[in-house]
């Protein structure tokens, strides 16, 4: 199978922090990841990872009274071998990398829903990093590698 070579592209979308904009966001990621030449199964997962990240920001970074009053910036960048997603907001500090992976059976038994989106982000992406500068900006960076056949990729086994 030939290795995947992505097109070099950078695109930005700024959305207001409202859940109704998630569909617009997903349409944006669909379009740009197609231009990048991301293979379809991975494209769907990247759409999901971005949706989960922005959903978390809307839910956790702002009070509900602040919904619709701030902006979230989503930057998609591709190199030949990777997609880098950068998401910026100015809400309160919320570090998804500190949240532990859920025990899904316990979640079902107890009807708990927290941590599922972050778990999905980690399952899908090879790197998830977070930086916070008080009063300035939260920045979440997620990276997905597309390596040559045979090379080791830390995110390859997630669907098993």
């Amino acid at each position: 199978m030939p290795s995947i070579m992505l097109n070099k592209i950078e695109r930005k979308l700024v959305v207001v922090n409202e859940t109704k904009n998630l569909k617009l966001l997903r349409n944006f990621v669909t379009e740009v990841s197609g231009e990048m030449n991301v293979p379809l199964p991975e494209r769907n997962k990247i759409i999901l990872a971005v949706d989960e990240a922005v959903s978390n920001i809307i839910e956790h970074a702002y009070d509900s009274s602040h919904e619709g009053k701030s902006e979230v910036e989503v930057i998609l960048l591709s190199e030949p071998d990777k997609v880098v997603i950068t998401i910026k907001d100015s809400g309160r500090e919320f570090d998804p990398t500190e949240i532990e992976d859920p025990d899904i059976r316990m979640h079902v038994n107890e009807g708990r829903k927290n941590g599922l989106g972050i778990f999905l982000m980690r399952q899908i992406m090879d790197e998830v990093k977070y930086t916070f500068r008080a009063g300035v900006e939260n920045q979440l960076v997620m990276v997905k590698y597309f390596k040559d056949e045979g090379e080791d990729s830390p995110g390859k086994d997630f669907a098993e």
Partner: protein
Amino acid sequence: MPQLTINKKDLGNNTVLLEPVGCLDAHTFEKMEQAIRGLFKEKVFRIIVSLPLLDYISSAGAGVFIGNITPAQEKGGNIVLVNPSANVKEVFDLLGLSQIFPMADDVEEALTHFQDDGT
């Protein structure tokens, strides 16, 4: 067009079929939550959710089923998921829910997941 519509069909024997159409995400999950909670209020705990017309689900959507399956089972019912689209099935697989939730290929098979006849 709304992002999510939910068709509802009474199958008899205290069993209801729900068919979500569209996207089940952080914007629309409350509509699904209300549909299931509404059935619980009517003492209906045998719920079949037909998923082939659901184009997209995120963790917020999956959370509706995670949050309600145990209460349904505690009342002698269940929530059975039928024939999810490839996109939706993949999310259940990623979350590890495919091994936990009862799944069926069609409504007839879904009915076999209920322990009694519903009467």
